[in-house]
Amino acid sequence: MDLLDADDDVKKAGYAWEDTYKRSWDLLLEDEAGSLETAVDRLKQQLKRARRTLRFGTVRRGIVRNVVLVLDASAAMAEQDLKPNRMETTLKLARQFITAFFDQNPLSHLSIVVTRGGLAERWTQASGNPTDHIDALQSKGPTRDLYGEPSLLNALSLARTILAHAPAHGTREVLTVFGSLTSCDPGNIYDLIPQLNQDRITVNIIGLASEVHVCKAVCASTRGQYRVIMNEDHFDEIMTGWTPPPPLVREDGDARPRLMEMGFPRRRKPRRRPVSFLCACHPFRPEQRGFTCPRCLSVVCELPTECPVCALTLVSSPLLARSYHHLFPVMPYVATNLVASTHSALPPSAFAATILGGVYACPSCRQPFCLDCDIYVHSHLHNCPGCI
């Protein structure tokens, strides 16, 4: 019944072609010189800003994520509507995604599963090391061994077994790129949905062809999202949208939050060189430098790890700090009616001194910023240079 309700909601929203007709060219107005450049620039700026503002908002997010990336490797992925073909594009975007994913979600784990010829196959074990996954994509990806039909059921079942071992305090997600319009399953996929829900697994699917009912049904009933791409840029945008930690939406005791005790060790080098010593984690491997556990002072050779002597989780503070900008987001700047046309038009501390265009101000410190600084502050720096 749930599925039918979900369908009704979509119908109420209406189709794009039923919408009132928008005269998009009315937005373009010529400036005094009869050129459209100013109007186009303004639209570009609005677009750039819109992309950012969407992501703003303080919500509880699950930063510790357990993710299975499912890639379709069936014959449908050899289709050349994306250049050079669907698989190559997917692999390229997957590599970008993995780098960004570990950048934004420290302490998370990822595993890659592919499905072809009616089977699902695990490419990488769940691990927190991005190089493992990128290497696997590079070494196994270019074989272009695309055949048969994918199996959504097998892929999700395999993902479920992988995620079953994930610790209870993290999210459990399946992110799927699905190029085929068919799925060759050994059983009824609707029987799997309650099991996925029981294990609180969220399934998200990107469709590369057109909308498929079963994909939509699986996503809707596991509180995931089903998106169908329009072009390569859109594909990139959706894939990038998966990188920030998702807001916690599952009210059924989503993740059981825990307070984890962690140690932040110092890296030490023996005073006299060359001296090798043995670390506590690899008894037979001499090391040149190591990290000392702050609780028991035993030496380990790499981070993050668990102290083999006192079982304290050892991490470096930068690993955790990568996610802190989600907790302290910079307030979005508001557009002012100032225009940075000359140097003298702005207060001396303005960062907008040399660039033409709109001027934006921080709502708390009232400092003016140019568009470039606005975007840089909100997408990379995450500090307002005027406030701190």
Binding site: R60, R61, I63, V64, P106, L107, H169, G170, L248, A255, R256, P257, R258, L259, M260, E261, M262, G263, F264, P265, R266, R267, R268, K269, R289, F291, P294, R295, L303, L312, S316, S317, P318, L320, A321, R322, S323, Y324, H325, H326, L327, F328, H343, S344, P348, F351, T354, I355, C370, D372, C373, Y376, V377, H380, L381, H382, N383, C384, P385, I388
Partner: protein, 331 residues
């Protein structure tokens, strides 16, 4: 080979300088250090025609962009007569950087005296004596103690430290703007931090944000430390961005360190074996009391760090699973 946009961030905390003067037994240590820094700046500008300089002062509560000067001030300076036998850029940089640094430094000293309501030299002398007699007490504790003693207890945490995150944010935003404005120009960028004060734990998150932004941009954060306080965050900055962290104990050797370690550009450095600090302090600051901790409790939802276990996360409001908490909190 490309040009370099080099930012020099000078810590102008009056307390830090007073302590340095006592430790080095030189009253005019600021002027001496300034001469060494100017020497470095000249060498940097002279090294390549397309090297660009940025000078930022980090003060206790704020930071100031000192060079390049504001358009009006620059125009004013340009109208003054210049000596004919000096390379123009050396002259303008020397004049402006020196006068601006001196002006801001004097202003900071005056502010500090006004806030303290007394002669800070005496207090600094006490601090220096204590530092000399008890090697275990850190400079940070001393500085905080001095500030508290002077009756500026309210600002004691900030008075003893400088707004390094603010200075770095400005340097990075400026660097980014230069890169965006001239996408065709290849330019290497880096920042040299001349540190006089220990880390301010309250700045942990902004400072780490700066470090990651710098890392993404390939911007090296180099640290030249002139004091003996705790600088876990700056150590991490140098480590993460793959650059050098040097502690200079004798100020008269500052120029040598600056020229030898911090002058070569990124490309040349690959062929040099430069000294750096091998020990890196990976400690973090807790969110509840802003203390630097080596063992902390981390929220599994938002990864906030706390120095003691608690029932509910103060950042995201999550209530923790009872079974995971230590027995003392369960009741």
């Amino acid at each position: 080979m490309t040009g370099t946009l080099g930012a020099v961030i000078v810590d102008l905390n009056p307390l830090g300088w007073a302590q340095l003067a006592r430790v080095q037994k030189q009253d005019d240590v600021f002027e001496k250090v300034l001469q060494h820094v100017l020497l470095y700046i000249n060498a940097f500008l002279g090294l390549r025609y397309d090297n660009h300089l940025l000078v930022i002062a980090a003060c206790p509560n704020q930071s100031h962009l000192l060079y390049p000067a504001e358009p009006q001030a620059a125009a004013e300076a340009a109208s003054k007569p210049k000596p004919v036998n000096v390379y123009e850029e050396f002259h303008t940089a020397n004049e402006q950087v020196a006068s601006q640094l001196r002006a801001v430094f004097r202003q900071q000293q005056a502010q500090f005296r006004a806030a303290g309501g007394g002669d800070d030299d005496d207090a600094a002398a006490t601090a220096a004596r204590r530092a000399a007699t008890s090697p275990t007490a850190t400079a940070a504790e001393d500085a905080a103690h001095v500030a508290a003693h002077l009756g500026v207890a309210k600002t004691s945490a900030t008075a003893a430290t400088s707004a390094m995150a603010s200075a770095l944010s400005k340097a990075l935003a400026y660097t980014n703007k230069v890169k965006v404005a001239r996408p065709d120009m290849e330019i290497a960028t880096r920042s040299l931090i001349i540190s006089l004060t220990p880390d301010n734990p309250a700045e942990y998150v902004p400072l780490m944000n700066c470090i990651f932004a710098a890392q993404k941009m390939g911007h090296m954060l180099e640290v030249c430390k002139l004091h003996r306080g705790d600088t876990a965050f700056l150590e991490q900055a140098a480590h993460i961005t793959g650059s050098n962290f040097i502690q200079v104990d004798d100020v008269s050797r500052l120029a040598q360190t600056l020229l030898q370690v911090f002058l070569p550009d990124q490309e040349t450095r690959r062929w040099l074996v430069l000294p750096t600090k091998e020990d890196v302090d990976f400690r973090a600051a807790c969110f509840c009391h802003k203390r630097i901790v080596s063992v902390g409790f981390v929220c599994s939802i938002c990864l906030s760090i706390f120095c003691a276990p608690q029932k509910e996360c103060i950042m995201c409001g999550t209530e923790y699973d009872i079974s995971s908490l230590p027995a003392s909190l369960e009741s």
